[in-house]
Point group: C2
Chain length 427, copies 2
Amino acid sequence: MSYILRNCDFVLTLSGEDLRILRNVNVLIENGVIVEIGDVKGSGYEEIDCSGHIAMPGLVNAHTHTPMSLLRGFFDDAELPTWLNKMWSVERELTPDIIALGSELSIIEMIMSGTTAFIDMYYHPEVTAEIALKYGVRAMLGPPFMDTYVNAVQVENELRNFYVKYVHSSLIKPIVNIHSIYTVGKDTLLRAKELSEALNLPIHIHISETRDEIYESKKRYGVFPVEYLNMLGIVTNKTQLVHLGWVTNWELGLISRAGAKVIHAPTSNMKLATAGHFPMKELMSMGVTVALGTDGPASNNSLDMFREMKMAVLLQRHSYWDVGIKAIHAFRAATINGYKLLGVRGGCLDKGCVADLVLLDAGSPRLQPLRSDNLLSNIVYSADGSDVDLVMVNGKVIYEKSRDYYALKERVKIISEDLNDFIQRFL
Amino acid sequence: MSYILRNCDFVLTLSGEDLRILRNVNVLIENGVIVEIGDVKGSGYEEIDCSGHIAMPGLVNAHTHTPMSLLRGFFDDAELPTWLNKMWSVERELTPDIIALGSELSIIEMIMSGTTAFIDMYYHPEVTAEIALKYGVRAMLGPPFMDTYVNAVQVENELRNFYVKYVHSSLIKPIVNIHSIYTVGKDTLLRAKELSEALNLPIHIHISETRDEIYESKKRYGVFPVEYLNMLGIVTNKTQLVHLGWVTNWELGLISRAGAKVIHAPTSNMKLATAGHFPMKELMSMGVTVALGTDGPASNNSLDMFREMKMAVLLQRHSYWDVGIKAIHAFRAATINGYKLLGVRGGCLDKGCVADLVLLDAGSPRLQPLRSDNLLSNIVYSADGSDVDLVMVNGKVIYEKSRDYYALKERVKIISEDLNDFIQRFL
């Protein structure tokens, strides 16, 4: 299907690293790719009326645990270790059917709020992958290595099967997920690394999230967490490091030299009181690709990437006592940098970028007054997911509020009832 | 007008300080007051179908500068002193007409997102008061003393006139606004205090917001800002202190002993990188009434009190490195405590409370799965203003999404165009 977005009030995009704002332009899309943008016409295109709208790149939620919406609000007021134990007590009882319900609920929430792609760490990733395909959203995922929960051989087999099934998918990309260095032993870490090399897959891991993790790493291995990963050969340009709340400057050097990617999850870190500081300015100045994630909906408890962009700026300003981190940095992190982690040319509305995009209601009261000079500010600081009117992934319209909202809400109602039936026994 | 809210899925309220959740109940309202709640019937009442909805108290935005939506996104990436100077450069050119546009835009955003009352500090408060009355929302406001901008005699006269005009209003309450100790000299502070005593009005003041303010206070007066106010007799049970990001424990003692009220504005503090720490746990444990505010829409840049509740919990957890501040504390701050500042029995759905309330869509996807046990969590951590379907103030329906949204949006469009015409010259 080929589309023309006609007469967009604003197009907000990145050209390389630079912000670019166009007014009253058309966007041409063919075969899932943006082929032209500006004062262009096309014939034989399906029309989308873009007047009254802002077209912007889709948002990438670069770290989440999709099915965990099933545990939203279930146990909120605890610190990470206590919280994790509580989550695990329920998670041991999960079946693929229940996971499917959680994933579907989260995917609906994500597409409604303008997320076009997500990176996911959870059991039974094929369940989530199939729902992502059904809704047409992009996802990178794979079964997590976690020795405290599941045998590594089993995870390896699951991942190999997952890989075979999805390696040629346009929307689904496999990844080697490792839960953390405190739930996974050295043998498994090395096994995961070999698998990443053998299948040429990125590694995605929680690291340096809490003080306790640092303390235990130093005590057990004599080094800090990122140093430990590096000793095992796991810090490479295919590595995605999540959290980094307690990280030394020499670890930043290791990350930067290796070309590893990093993911900031500010809301989750604050909610779980892990404190610390994700050194976003230093990472950016060393050229490290910084992406953003909401973390799971049980520790956020929202999947709205608009809110996460704002949170990243706010937390960073609070930590540095200055305004060095600006709206543009959060916007890049949530768009173009997220797509770098996916290995897809996206997060941009430009010739050759994948057509993963969002139309926002330019008349939304909370975005007014709106002009080219405050467009980015208003999107990062004032917008929320409710301003999303249309979402396109890979050149296909996967959500149109006026067409889909009520049907999706009906589906959510059923999911919610089924999830509550399941949760009852843990209350 | 008397109403019956029939068949609310959930009623979320506070009974004293305690959370109370009722299911499938009716709420009876007469003459602006809640007269009964539970399994009650009434005849001769106007019916509101509350099925599929959560009824909760309206939210109080206890510190804002309403007209400043006109400067939303205008100049975002600066620290407080630079930012204030830039704001003032435009504000010197403001006319009542422009102020009216900004206030109307903000009031529309506030009522759409469930705010039933706000405390405001801005010039020409009668302009904002009239718009508040037009839209039916509750407001506490008055002209700010600010020697760097306007002569104190003029402010006193303006306040006396404002007082006479609104002292008997059911929705508008006058207040003595003082900008800060760095923009107002001792004589004016004393004049403001006398006025507060003569007219029996609360005093509302920004205090201890930045390190620089502390440093200057110590240098000029030999004492910390709250100590300085206290020396002048301005810390009393009628005082409302905003920000308190840099405050000593002995100043907390002064606040607590006096029975002064305090207001936390976490988003604005973070966005302006004032850093510091609002000591919410200590203040609460000393029995001080803590309320919440968004601050002005040019330093937030949202007026959504749902987002502000979440931000308060997150920032406090980040600062304390623990989860001591919970959803209930933010909820109390935004509801019942806000009403204490207004001097109105509200923020509760209970016999005798004013009928200032909000109906949320209980089927909103981002709130699922929803049960009594996670209702509060999901409201504080997952909801946003877009979940609001109906707002009642003083027993009158002032906003009903299905009836009013598009008309208000049309009005906002005109306001936005007019504001942009004005702003152009400063770009």
